[in-house]
Structure formats: structure tokens, C-alpha cells
Amino acid sequence: MIDPALPPHMRPDKSFQGLILALHAFWADKGCVVLQPYDMEVGAGTFHPATTLRALGPLSWKAAYVQPSRRPKDGRYGENPNRLQHYYQYQVILKPSPANLQDLYLASLEAIGIDLRLHDVRFVEDDWESPTLGAWGLGWECWCDGMEVSQFTYFQQVAGFECAPVSGELTYGLERLAMYVQGVENVYDLNFNGRDGAEKVTYGDVFLQAEQEYSRHNFEHADTQMLFDQFRMAESAAAKYLEAGWSDDRKRHLMAQPAYDQCIKASHVFNLLDARGVISVTERQSYILRVRELAKACGAAWLATAAGGTPAT
């Protein structure tokens, strides 16, 4: 339940930022390291190395963070009240997945003001797969009164490797959740800072112009030649760093994360090219496979690092 003493600019049901703060407080309380967003363009919170790479290997790991996510194709020039090409995901990863993960998730909903005696929360089958990351898992979309508010996944495989132990991943769609708890129909009407009158800042104040500009960019003007070049550059850089990072007779790797950055880069560039409509259906598959190959090689490299479970000698 929400602390009634909290001022509106801190309350999850009165401000977008309050929602983030409440989730941070909740998960910090459960032992997570609260990280900041990864400083690169990604399509989902899963791409953050704190999830993709940390899900691999035997070591325990608990983290929570907000990840700005870019889906160039979902841009609607700011005209659709529900779709954005840039939005926020709140990501939690717990490894190994605790036995009470569902209860923890439900408690987090209560912490942001969803009364479980009033609202119908359901776990509806939804298997998750990321072809570009060579990853899949089983779980649910979590419904609150018929609206999907989160994705709940038990990772089975990442970067082509079996996950052992298994990580539990929770992804909250922050805008949707905020719209729900604030009772708002249009994402741009969300109260961002919880203030009233002249001091009030809405989600639209912060992001509407960006949505319009990036929609133009994503669909009409993104320099495709440059993007094709960038894809190739990222791909070859990843290969170079991967090769250079191997040591000790290829038993240990010294540069898994810089290589993985290039994999992320390639993935985002591919999404932009896809939005520009310059990749045909058949080519599409081969680009996805190329990114997956990078992800797999990065996963193999990560497993040969200390954080991936190969102790330093």
C-alpha cells in the first residue's frame, strides 16, 4: 500500500516519476541492485547486459532498473494515445528465480497502488522468444482488469545457452501501468511530476515533440546507406573484439562486454532499417540470424569471464 504521507510528486498513482521511485524502493527492499539504464539504444530492457549477460552462468544476481526502449516501427507521430517508438520498461531480474516470485510480483503491484481485492489480476500464457538474442522462456503476460501490464518470464535459454540456474524476469510497461493507476486515457496526458497548475509537467510535455521528430526520422529520413554501413561496421567490430578478447588458450575472455555493445548496436540499426522498409521479407530473416550469431558468440565469451562463472586464475 502507498504511504499516505508521501507527497504527490513521489506517489506512484499521482506521478510517472513516483511510479518509478516506488518500484525502485520495492525492489531495493528485496535485495536488488538498482541500476541505471544502459547507455545505448535498445529495443527492450532484456538487452541490457545486466539481463542478457548476467542471465548466463552459475552466479546469483538480482537487479532492477528502468530501460528506455526504442521500437522504431511503433512510432505514430504522436497521434496514437497508446503507441510510442520510445517508452520505458521497468526490468527486474532475479537469478535463481525464487520460489515466491509470483508473490513478490503481486506485492510490487500493491506497492504501486493496485488493490488486489478490487482488481482482477491474471497470469495468461505467453511464451517469450527473442530470435535476435537466441533466447526464449516460458511465462505469462500479467493482466490487470483485462489490460496487459507486465511480462513475466522464466528464462530457459539465452544467447543459445541453457540457463542454469534459471532467471526470473519481470518487465513492467511503465506508461501503461501509469495510465492505469492515474486513470488516464492518453499517454501524453500522464502527470509526470505530480504537480498541479503551472508546475505540472505531463508526459506529452516531455516526449510528444520527440515522438513526432523520431517518427519522421524512423520512417522517412533515417539515412539508410549510413545504417547499412553501421550494421556491417558493428558486425565486424564485434567479431574483432571477440577474437582479440580470448586468452589462456581460449579458456578465458577479456572483452565480452565491448563485443556485446556492438551486438546491441547491430540489433538497433537493423530495427531502424526495418522501420524504413528497406529490408525485404527474405533478407529480414538473414539479418536476424546475423545478430543472433553475434549474441551467441558474446554469450560464449561472457561465460569465460569471472562474472560469467569462470574464476580468474
Partner: protein, 691 residues
Amino acid sequence: MIPEPIDVAMPDLLLELFCEEIPARMQAGAAENLRKLVTDALVDRGLVYEGAKAFVTPRRLALAVHGLPAHQPDTHEERKGPRVGAPEAAIQGFLKAAGLDTIEQATIESDPKKGEFYVARIHKHGRTTPEVIAEIVPEIIRAFPWPKSMRWGSGTLRWVRPLQSILCTFGPETEEPEVVRFEVDGLKSGDTTRGHRFLSSGEIRVRRLDDWMTKLEAAFVVADRDRRKDIILADAKDLALAQGLELVEDEGLLDEIAGLVEWPVVLMGSFDAGFLDVPDEVIRATIRINQKCFVLKDPKTGRLANRFILVSNLKASDGGKAIVAGNERVIRARLSDAKFFWDTDRRTNATVPLAERLAKFGNVTFHEKLGSQFERIERIAALAKALAPLVGASPGLAEQAALYAKSDLRTEVVGEFPEVQGLMGKYYARLEGLPEEIALAAEEHYKPQGPGDRVPAAPVSVAVALADKLDTLTGFWSIDEKPTGSKDPYALRRAALGVVRIVLDNGLRLKLSEFVEPDLLAFFADRLKVHLREQGARHDLVDAVFALPDQDDLLLVVKRVEALGRFLSSDDGRNLLAGAKRAANILRIEEKKDGVSYDGGVDLVLLHEPEERALAEAIAALGPKIETALAAEDFEGAMALMAGLRAPVDAFFEKVTVNAEDKALRANRLRLLADIRTATRTIADFDRIEG
């Protein structure tokens, strides 16, 4: 007086596997699998039961087995051992295999051949049923056939979603049952379960099925899936009736919803009547697929009402107000999207000419090796035009309809709801003021989709439907993408069966060999066989007809099979079949032995016996008449004529010896048999008919 039988209560088993939410679509199958696996394993171990029933909810899979014995029956086994005085190694091996401590425990028997040898008489007490259950249940859990399973935490056990607890009790109704103790990957069985996720808290101790059911019910769980379905359906109908509306029933949706709730609470919500501009099918698709809610119909207009039925899993403290409001918000957003798509499509269709819309298909690949969607549409249009005269359609209209038929694939509505493809084409064609034939063909050219689907009958629809399917089949055949085994990614079997049904239902005369290559024709023959078999026709009759040359007209094949079936159920037919098969058998043997074919050229001079002369004359007289009847496609007539051969054939076999001493005579008689074969083969290959 007959004494009352003493009522010894047989013990019951209760097993409950409690886990995180099981996907709705897997629940019914899992319940059935659990019942079968456990009861089969019990019976295999000599434990016969009186009854068993499985239960499933989103969070539990349970089984009650009623009337089990308390232990396995005892067994006696005799095991023969080595002879007395055999080497020590053989004796020791025997003791080990028979489970004896010393050789004195074995008895000695003698046999006149073998002499004296050891025999172990092993008497095994049956194990108690709980022991057996404790052995089989963990095995079943570990190997449970989920369509998809997973690991969790640090464990290695696989289950559909994390398995949280196991309840397993055993005992007669009159006594306190015992907990069947076992462990699966650290999870220990016990006698507790949990109730509804939100409406109940803490563990619930359970003894057996009846208190499991009542305690769960008190903890807001309806364990029986069928009961949940009944509750949902009855409450939904009541709510609808109270508003003067009718529930649009949907068995698939009902099944799914029953798998999403443990405590169904049926509620009604509404949406802005302005959304009813959107076609009913689109509203229904939006509400059904995305929100898993039922729609309602106004019986006065026959159209959808602006209400929907949702089934929540919660008896909410505000009576469901917040839940309804939340669902209404989501449905409003979904319908806004649908209405936006519908309006956009209508605007586009009104302003952009069809040719321009079709040109966009040039950028869409149909299949890497089969070109773009645009090229495909052009092929279908040309084929529809060519087929039109054969199905009684106007070639121009058929071509136009084929060009239009796929145009809705690029519309916004179909992009969002692929299942309304075709239907939207029909609506859009009407809005564009196109002829009704074109509108109908847009919807009907996909038909028939499955065995229960309607077959198009309007000539233009038929032309486009055939062209669409034939183009798909010939296309994938040409790049060698044929269905193999269970793999049929392009649904080619369905396409071929669709052609078969369209041809037969409409009585179309179509020589398929003019449109498809021989290998594909054989594929059609297979589909026809499957189709006729499903309708009760004998597959051997179909084979017998397809064995004839040039059978590429499906309608004629079917007529011939039907006539043949009737003929063979008559006395004459059965006897002639026997005679023809006898002739064919003899010929097969003799032709193989002699290395020659006896086809053709009976020498009349060599016909000595009256019966063989009569047979030859009958064949000579009937042959041309049968041919005439066949040429006129009068299969009944041809068979009736063929019946005239029965008496001479019977008489021939009764009186005449085929394998005569005289070589010339024998050869001539074999040639006469070959004439029977030839004559009957004008109707069917009798050799392939069973019986």
C-alpha cells in the same frame, strides 16, 4: 435369508499437483494424461480400481482414484535352476537371480532327461498400495507429457510452470487416510493445498476427495472444469437475458476462460454505441481475441449490442465496479483502434484506385521462389478467367473478382485481425459499389477452409476459389515443396481437398490433367480417396477405379465408384467379382510361369466346350454395348450389361478345365480368361477390390 454382504470400504487415492498458472489450452489434455498415466501404472502393477476422475484448474492438476485395494496381490513364481552338482558359479548366479540366501532354500526336482535340478519357489508378498503410488507418481511427474515444459530456480525438474506443492493421500472413507510420502526434486508430498490466490490465505489440510472439494469451494476454488463452464455459461446467459439480449455463444472461448479462472465471476460491461459502425465480425474479433470476452446480440436487429460479458477471477469487494471499468477502458482503446483501421481502409479504398492498391503487392514476397503477391494475383486472375466457362461464370467477371479477392490483405483491419480476411474484402467491395459476385468471391474464394466449412456455389466464387487453390498447388509442386508426413506448412492437403469438394459439390466436369502435372494428379487422387473414405466409401473401390488409365475427372471417378459399389452389393456383382478375380489370379500365375501375356486373340475354332463358346460369345456381344454405355458415362448401364457375364463366367469355371493337357487348348482358354479381365477392366480393376 441371504446374509448381507459385509461392506468393506476400499481405499481411495487423492493426488493434487499444485503449480503456477497452467496455460488454459493445455489443461484438459493434462487432466486426461494424468488420469491415464496413473491408472495405467496402477493396473500394470496389479492394482485394479473402480473409478477415476481428474480435475484441473489454472493452478492445480488433480486426480481421485476410487476403490483401490490396500496392497498388490501376492505372486508366486517358479524359477528353474541348474542341475544338482553344477559348478559353484552357476549355483551362485541362480541364488542371486532368484533372491535366495542359500541353496537349501531351493527344492530339488527331477526330470528323466535333465536329471536332478534345483527349483526356486518364490512367494512374493504384494507391496502396499501407498508404496506403489510413492514409486509411480514421481516417475509420472518427471516424464509428464506437457506440450512445452520448463525448469525454474536452481532445480532440474521440468513442469509446465513451477510446481509448488504435492498433496497425496490414501485410505478408506471410514478412516483417517495416510499421506503417501515421496519426494520429487526436493518437493515433499503432504496433505495440504491452497485456495484461491486472492480470496483465501494459508494452507488447507485435506483428507480425501470430498473434503478437498468442499474445502476448496469454501476457499473460492471450483475444482471441476465442467462446473466452471456451466457457471460461466448460465450466468452469462442470465445477465444477457436481463438486458433483453442474447449471448453469442463461443465454445472455444468458453473452454479458454474456464482455464483462466478458479472462481468465475461473470460481469457485464458496455462500450460506446458509436463503435457499432464497425462490422460485427471485427468487433467480435477484437473483444474475443484480445480481451477474451463474449459479445452480445440484440435479438430485435440480429446485430451486436454495445455490451460485452467478461469473466473475472475475483469476487471483488466493490462488487466488480473497478474490474468492469478497467475492462471497459481496454475495450474502448481496442475498439478505437479497430474503428480507426476501418475508417482508414474505407478512405483509402475510396481515393486510391484498385490498380494502384494492387501495385503495392509487388513489394510483398509471396514465396522466395514463387515471386511477389502481385505476380501471384495476376496468375490467379488469368486462371480464374480460363476456368470461368467450365464452371458457368463470366470470364470477365471472374478475372475482375480474382484481382479484387486478395486486395483486403493490405488493409489495416486485416493487418490487425488476419482472421477476417476475405470477409473485409466483401464489405469493402460492397462499399465500393462493385457487383455482388465480386464481393461474394472475395469472401468465398478461401472456402472451404476445413471439413466443416461451406463450399462455395456461386459460379464466380467457384472460379476464383479453384484458381487460387490450383495456383498454390501447382506453384509449390513446381518448386518441390510437397507435404511430407505430418509436415504440410503451406496447407496443400487442405487446398487439394478444397478443390475436390468444390468439384464434387458443384457437379463440375473438369479434366484436371489439363491444369496439373501427373504427380500432382496422384496427390488429388489421394485426397479424393481420403474424402470418399470419410463419407463411407470403400477405399478399395476408389483404388480399383484410379487404377484405370486417364482418371482425371473427379466427378466421373466418383460416379463410377458409386455405381461400382451398388453393382458389387448385388448377387450378380459379387459373383462376377469372384469369377473375375479367379480369372485374374490364374492369369497372374500362368503368365508369370510362361513369361507371356495372354491378352487378345481367342481362337474361336479351338473353343470346344459349349460353356467356353457361350462365354466368348457373351463377351463379344456385350463388349461393344458396355463401351457405348461407358462412352455415354452411363456407369449404371455398363454395370447392368456387365452383370450379363456372370452366368457364362460361372458356367465356364464349373465345366471347363483351363489347364488342359493340350497346349493350344490351354493357351486359348487362358486368352479367354484374359478377355474377362479386359472386359471387366473397362469398369474397374477388379483385382484391387477386396472380397
